[in-house]
């Protein structure tokens, strides 16, 4: 396309071509590829190796453990219209969020004001401009050849602190965007390859520890500049024309390869699932009145695999957005899908926005997956994304099973986390999330147990980090970091084992902690397990203020090393505390000081297959490693010391199961009566009503399944008010599946 077009014209042209032809940029033939496939391969390899090597170099500039040690860092090359061409490893969430950021600037006429010029630096963490949440900060520079903008280079890092009300980078309790910290709303923050002083001062004044953000910014900018430099040499080798056509062909090739992979491994059809994370906040003493409620966010997911190999994700029937930081929007939903794409479907290093073109997400406006309130908070969108995509991993697993790719099946894990806020051992204000959660155990696989201490759904390169690094980050001293026996999801292949950390406050007289889980700990189950595998057991956290630990230490008494041990000691009086909590509810502790305690468990993913089919040798290995007790192994797996004992116990359990079972028709008839009257707890009832407020999809499914006429749920428990969507600027949008092309019209709809 010629220089005469503005970026906006180029973007619209590209979108039009895709709509009209169904291929990226209307490309029918991969001419460069077909002419010389090995040269094309060399071109791609040159771009990719540049991106990967720059990322590995630039991360040493950073200051966040999240960036250097936790791989929460990605860099990519984009077309002038903002489509991803090649990407490094790292937080794959951001492949398309950067795209949306670039498109946001183009669509909002940044070319005219504030202008896009060589040497400019743009930054964003704004959900309306494609971002996920405030701690994920994107830095982006344009690349020019003469007067022509030929590429963008963008990079994202996750910041441990972003100026939230509570302190850590992600807010758990903020009702709206006004508590979720510093927003950089797609802004020009630098010129002539340097950050502007006013921007750096803004960071200083709005963050508790601006050095982290500033150094990470420097890392990202340096990386972008290094890629820009390398790109010049690539242009020297291949020429500008080859480059411009080559990057577009790479995206179209990425699209085709994605479709091929889906066709080769999945079964066309519709796959349905539901997630219901429960959020309880009424017990938290210090919470905004608008956020002081308990509720369930229901997300209804329908995954359609078409015969052509495209994927469609439809969330019709989900509940609405609300005054909490767990809301999603197209940015977070795209991010969530990218982690799925790169871990399950396109992990060979060739993924780019071509794969994105093979996927359509239908996000009903005003729902939890597409909040349209201008003041919406997404600080912890992950507490919604994790359940949704855990479910989608499961649905993909079912499809693989049907096709025989059992060894590809892997299930995810709920995320739990600790935030620390106050004053640190260096007498400085601090606020951060301890990212050891990046070493959570994951769920069972189709052919093996989940990994104990593995990786969360949001980052395949799982890493727990050194305790010594976290002790230097904040005023906490580990007194234990170990597995919790018997606390895994049971199955023929079990979920990765739960592990936990317990800390004592050290070096601070004024610090508090937020302890939270991805909506899972309060009773909502979304990591369901597969084919008889169990969900993981419950969640727990603890804190204790004003403890006698100092005396305990002086006396040489046994110190607690786990959450359960601390709880037992608090209960029997060996540990005394002014106040304490140990249980499964979100917590914002009171102020803690030297010798106070806090702890959390990070539980593993779900199980696969009937526990009674678990191999004895695997059980015995768990016993030897202290991951199970013999009593639990007997109860859950029917384990006995000999194979005969085991068989006998298993037979007994099977018999007991039969005795406890009733025919499905009987169960249905009994439950139908309940379903008719809506005899469920208040937050469940409200959840159904909230779903029906914005869509009748779930309501109709409910009526159809229970064969009843009237939907019994009417009270949403939410205040009634009007919220206009933002106006006056372009932002990424999505909506429900168009009714005209409804379910019946879908290709591959072969229920």
């Amino acid at each position: 396309m010629g220089k005469q077009m503005t970026l906006k014209q180029q973007l619209l042209h590209s979108e039009k071509l895709f709509t009209e032809t169904g291929t990226y940029y209307g490309i029918k033939e991969l001419a460069l590829h077909d002419r010389d496939p090995l040269k094309f391969e060399a071109f791609h390899s040159r771009l990719l190796s540049t991106i990967i090597s720059v990322r590995n170099t630039m991360k040493f500039i950073a200051s966040s453990p999240a960036v250097r040690d936790f791989e929460e860092f990605v860099i990519g090359l984009y077309t002038p219209e903002g489509d991803a061409v090649v990407l490094s490893t790292g937080i794959m969430v951001h492949v398309h969020t950067l795209s949306e950021f670039i498109k946001f600037m183009i669509q909002n006429d940044y070319e005219d004001d504030p202008r896009i010029r060589p040497g400019d630096i743009f930054e964003n963490n704004e959900v309306w401009a494609g971002g996920v949440h405030t701690p994920d900060v994107m830095t982006c520079i344009p690349v020019f050849e003469g007067d022509e903008l030929i590429a963008w280079i963008g990079s994202v890092s996750h910041e441990l602190e972003s100026g939230t009300y509570e302190g850590p980078g992600m807010s758990v309790l903020s009702p709206d965007r006004f508590g979720e910290g510093l927003h950089i709303s797609a802004e020009k923050v630098g010129e002539n390859d340097h950050f502007r002083k006013d921007y750096l001062l803004r960071l200083k004044m709005n963050l508790r520890n601006s050095n982290w953000w500033s150094l990470d910014d420097k890392a990202k900018l340096s990386g972008c500049l290094m890629v820009r430099e390398a790109l010049r040499k690539i242009l020297d080798t291949f020429g500008l024309d080859y480059y411009k056509q080559g990057v577009r062909e790479l995206i179209e090739e990425g699209r085709r390869n994605f479709l091929k992979r889906v066709r080769a491994t999945m079964v066309p059809g519709v796959y349905r699932g539901m997630t219901m994370p429960v959020h309880k906040r009424t017990h938290v003493p210090f919470v905004h009145p608008m956020a002081k409620n308990d509720f369930i966010d229901l997300v209804r997911t329908e995954l359609t695999v078409t015969k052509a190999g495209t994927l469609e994700l439809d969330y019709e029937g989900s509940t609405g957005w609300s005054f909490h930081p767990f809301n999603c929007a197209p940015g977070p939903m795209n991010g969530g899908f990218w982690i799925t794409l790169t871990q399950l479907l396109a992990y060979d290093g060739r993924v780019n926005d071509g794969a994105y073109l093979g996927v359509t997400q239908f996000l009903p406006e005003g729902s939890i997956v597409n909040s349209n309130y201008s003041g919406t908070a997404t600080s912890l969108a992950w507490w919604t994304l994790i359940p949704i995509f855990a479910n989608i991993w499961r649905l993909i697993g079912i499809s693989w099973f049907a096709r025989g790719f059992i060894e590809e099946i892997v299930m995810s894990t709920p995320t739990c986390m600790v935030g620390v806020t106050g004053f640190d051992q260096y007498h400085q204000p601090t606020g951060y999330q301890n990212f050891e959660m990046a070493g959570e155990s994951f769920g069972a696989r189709g052919v093996a147990d989940g990994m104990d201490c593995g990786s969360p759904i949001w980052n395949s390169e799982g890493i727990q980090g050194d305790a010594e690094v976290w002790e230097m980050t904040g005023p906490n001293l580990y007194v234990g970091r170990a597995f919790l026996p018997d606390h895994h999801a049971y199955g023929r292949f079990r979920g990765g084992a739960t592990w936990e950390s317990l800390w004592m406050v050290r070096g601070s007289q004024l610090v508090n902690v937020t302890l939270s889980g991805a909506g899972c700990m309060n009773g909502g189950v979304f990591h369901k397990g597969m084919f008889g595998g169990y969900p993981p057991p419950g969640w727990k956290c603890m804190w204790a203020s004003g403890t006698n630990l100092k005396e305990l230490i002086e006396r040489g008494d046994k110190m607690p090393t786990s959450v359960n041990e601390a709880e037992a000691m608090l209960k029997d009086g060996r540990i005394t505390a002014r106040e304490w909590y140990c249980g499964p509810l979100n917590q914002w502790s009171p102020n803690l000081k030297e010798y106070d305690l806090f702890g959390i468990i990070y539980y593993g993913g779900c199980g696969y297959g009937d526990p009674l089919e678990r191999d004895r040798a695997m059980i015995e290995k768990d016993l030897a490693n202290g991951l199970m007790t013999e009593a639990a192994a007997g109860e859950i797996y029917g384990y006995g010391r000999t194979s005969q004992d085991t068989e006998r116990r298993r037979a007994e359990i099977r018999k007991r199961r039969l005795q406890e079972s009733i025919p499905a028709e009987e169960w249905w008839a009994k439950e139908q009566a309940r379903a008719r009257t809506g005899a469920v707890g208040p937050i469940v009832s409200q959840m159904f009503a909230r779903s029906a407020q914005i869509s009748d999809a779930l309501k109709q499914a409910y009526l159809k399944f229970w064969k009843i006429e009237k939907f019994p749920y009417t009270e949403s428990g939410m205040p009634e008010f009007q919220t206009p969507p933002p106006t006056g600027f372009y932002y990424p949008k999505s909506s429900s599946r168009p009714k005209a092309n409804g379910a019946a019209a879908r290709e591959g709809d072969v229920r």
Partner: protein
């Protein structure tokens, strides 16, 4: 094996580099002349391949093994003993004592143990991740109640009774050694020392290894990996080394056998920290590159090793070899200081394939190793098959003709692949070769660029069995200061081992800061930093003095190199900064050290990455104590004129080159003399390697018989 230099054996120095497939030996006499030999590595009993390789080298000068060994002063054996002990799980029965509450650490492997060392695709592909079986079973791991904080202050005291009770459990389990790792022991080793003392009182004969005495640096997982490596494999490896030494002595050698440590120093095998002999990359070549660079007056050298399985690169800057502080040891990162090299899994034996979904050409990561390719006995076509088809390699002169290669089998295997790329078999074979070399070029260029260096500042040294063959394609389009390869390229790494000095290297964590301002409080902080750095250097010198004493080396002869690791405040990574004097004399010296840091930093990163306004932190210092040793001399020979002797001529053969068959002159390597010039197209054959000289290039053998590769005809 043929000789490469004139050979007068006096008092010899011998180096061996044992790889997974071959053990290479180089024997250097007091005149600096050398002989080379090769022998298939015997993993069950390395003493056999050790002797076999020396024998092979000695035979080239018609020397008997016994005479050679009797006349030898030093033998350095570098290689895989440590690694094999770990891989084969044949280490000692070790008990582990850790801080209470951390007993599951070996099962956890910091989570990253599940994917560390994986290629890009598998790092993303979560379902492939898994933990390794721990070297120490869970029932031999005990925790004792204790804690030291990040400043080194004891928080929870260690009690003798607790240690004794837990140690008893280990002793009753029949452990052969006990490893101890407590949190922040690098900031205060008192608890670890006390625990060791208690255990020694209980059992004097059980070796106790404490993490603070190995490498007292930050990050407990790295200290844990190191202390286990020493306890589990260090002493067990010593037995293997002792066996090698006994075998050498039985054949007439009268001294101690030495080994190469990961940081590039050699020490006798009686060294207390034998775990440092764990080497993960081909570091011998980098040492050789540094030495040849010195001879040539080039301080900036990029060392490239093309083997069968991988391509390895090491970078020497201003004559100094960079040290990596967290190399991976199987599925753990350790804190063994190691010469920094990086690799990709593409070598001349790499398998070629077509991706079933994308239709792309895939290279590696599997390699045929000594089975070569379809042309010998590997079921899948490899890059070497392309070389045979193209005529680069003579099917009748592989390993000197010992192993005939089947050209037709190679062609038959490549043809279907070529068809899937719409190419003829020659065209495909050439492009596949070029693509593999492209990967290598991109890799090394990115490595240089990632450090802020330009290729034109660098001399490339290319070696490894595949080096001289890949050279022409790897350098395509690169501007380099000079390009050098060697007649003995295939054993250059063993040659490099002989270039290593006697050396110990020490690292120690500290806490020191250099604030940006100059007020009185800041000056106090800076004074404390100067004091802390100086005291730590002094303490490390004391450690060196003790180690030197054990080997009877004169500490006064040592060349000491001191360095500090500096970062901007809050930064997580730091950079080694050398300090040329004995101590920091003042806070002005500290400021000068910070300036040096910024110099190092801005070589790598753009100036936008500087953050001087927040000040600096120094969290680790290091000391290297070296004694220089005789090195192979590479003597300067009289130049014989441009023309190669007729004894080198082997005729000509057809080679497929850029779309057509052309005739390449064929020569034998050994008879070629200093001063000879060979214009391309030509192929120079050696039993262990093949040098390809394209049209429009020539090579020149300089007075040391180093081969300079240059554009144009001469």
């Amino acid at each position: 094996m043929a000789t490469d230099q004139t050979h007068v054996i006096g008092k010899n120095w011998i180096a061996l580099d044992a790889g997974g497939t071959m053990t290479d030996a180089v024997i250097v006499d007091s005149e600096g002349n050398f002989l080379v030999g090769k022998f298939l590595t015997n993993k069950e009993d390395e003493s056999l391949s050790f002797l076999g390789s020396i024998s092979d080298a000695a035979r080239t000068a018609n020397r008997a093994l016994r005479t050679t060994l009797r006349e030898s002063e030093v033998i350095v054996y570098a290689g895989t003993i440590m690694l094999n002990t770990l891989l084969s799980r044949t280490g000692a029965k070790v008990g582990l004592m850790v801080t209470q509450g951390f007993e599951d650490y070996l099962l956890m492997e910091k989570a990253e143990g599940g994917w560390l060392g994986y290629p890009y695709a598998d790092r993303l592909h979560t379902v492939t991740h898994h933990h390794s079986e721990p070297t120490i079973p869970r029932d031999r791991i005990v925790g004792v109640q204790e804690r030291v904080d990040m400043f080194g202050a004891p928080v929870i005291p260690l009690r003798e009774a607790d240690v004794a009770a837990k140690a008893r459990v280990l002793l009753e389990a029949g452990v052969e050694a006990i490893a101890i790792m407590f949190l922040f022991s690098h900031m205060n080793p008192a608890h670890e020392r006390m625990a060791a003392e208690v255990i020694r009182k209980m059992s004097a004969e059980i070796p106790v290894v404490v993490s603070s005495a190995m490498a007292p640096t930050h990050k407990e997982y790295t200290r844990l990996a190191s202390v286990i490596a020493q306890a589990y494999a260090g002493e067990r490896s010593r037995r293997h080394f002792n066996k090698v030494e006994a075998r050498a002595r039985s054949e007439g050698f009268e001294r101690e056998v030495s080994t190469l440590l990961a940081h590039g120093g050699t020490v006798p095998i009686s060294t207390p920290r034998l775990y440092e002999s764990y080497v993960s990359g081909p570091i011998g070549g980098v040492l050789g590159g540094q030495y040849v660079g010195e001879l040539q007056g080039s301080g900036n050298v990029v060392c490239c090793d093309i083997g069968g399985t991988s391509f390895d690169v090491g970078i020497i800057r201003d004559g100094k070899i960079p040290i990596s502080r967290e190399p991976t040891l199987l599925s753990f990162r350790t804190n063994i200081p190691m010469i920094h090299t990086e690799s990709i899994g593409a070598g001349m034996g790499s398998e070629l394939g077509v991706h079933p979904l994308t239709g792309k050409l895939t290279v590696g990561p599997r390699s045929a190793g000594s089975d070569v390719g379809r042309c010998l006995r590997w079921p899948v076509p490899t890059v070497t098959d392309c070389h045979v088809v193209l005529g680069y390699l003579s099917p009748n002169y592989f390993l000197g003709g010992d192993v005939p290669l089947d050209v037709e089998a190679a062609r038959a295997a490549l043809e279907p692949m070529a068809r899937s790329f719409n190419a003829g078999v020659f065209e495909f074979a050439e492009k596949a070769h070029l693509l593999v070399c492209d990967y290598m070029r991109e890799f090394l260029v990115n490595m240089l660029r990632g450090r802020g260096y330009d290729t034109h500042e660098y001399t490339m040294m290319m070696y490894g069995g595949g080096g001289p063959l890949g050279l022409h394609a790897v350098i395509e389009g690169l501007e380099l200061n000079d390009i050098v390869t060697f007649p003995f390229a295939a054993v250059f790494s063993a040659f490099g081992v002989l270039c290593a000095p006697r050396r110990y290297r020490y690292h120690q964590s500290i806490l020191a800061a250099c604030p940006p301002s100059d007020d009185s409080m800041s000056r106090e902080v800076k004074k404390l930093a100067v004091e802390s750095i100086n005291n730590t250097w002094k303490a490390l010198e004391e450690r060196a003095r003790l180690d030197f004493k054990q080997h009877g080396w004169r500490f006064a002869d040592a060349r000491l190199q001191r360095s500090a690791y500096v970062r901007f405040t809050n930064q997580l990574s730091d950079f080694e900064v050398h300090w040329p004097s004995e101590r920091l004399a003042s806070i002005e010296d500290l400021a000068a050290l910070m300036k040096r840091f910024e110099g190092v930093y801005t070589t790598i990163y753009p100036t936008q990455a500087l953050y001087s306004e927040v000040g600096y932190q120094i969290l680790e210092v290091a000391l290297s104590a070296d004694i220089e040793t005789p090195k192979p001399k590479l003597p300067e020979l009289a130049l014989s004129g441009r023309n190669v002797p007729s004894s080198a001529e082997k005729g000509a053969r057809k080679v497929y080159w850029r779309g057509r068959e052309i005739e390449f002159r064929v020569l034998e390597m050994d008879p070629i003399e200093a001063g000879n010039v060979i214009n391309g197209p030509a192929i120079v054959e050696h039993p262990a390697t093949t040098l390809l000289i394209p049209p429009e290039y020539h090579v020149e053998f300089d007075s040391r018989r180093l081969i300079h590769y240059r554009r144009g005809a001469r």
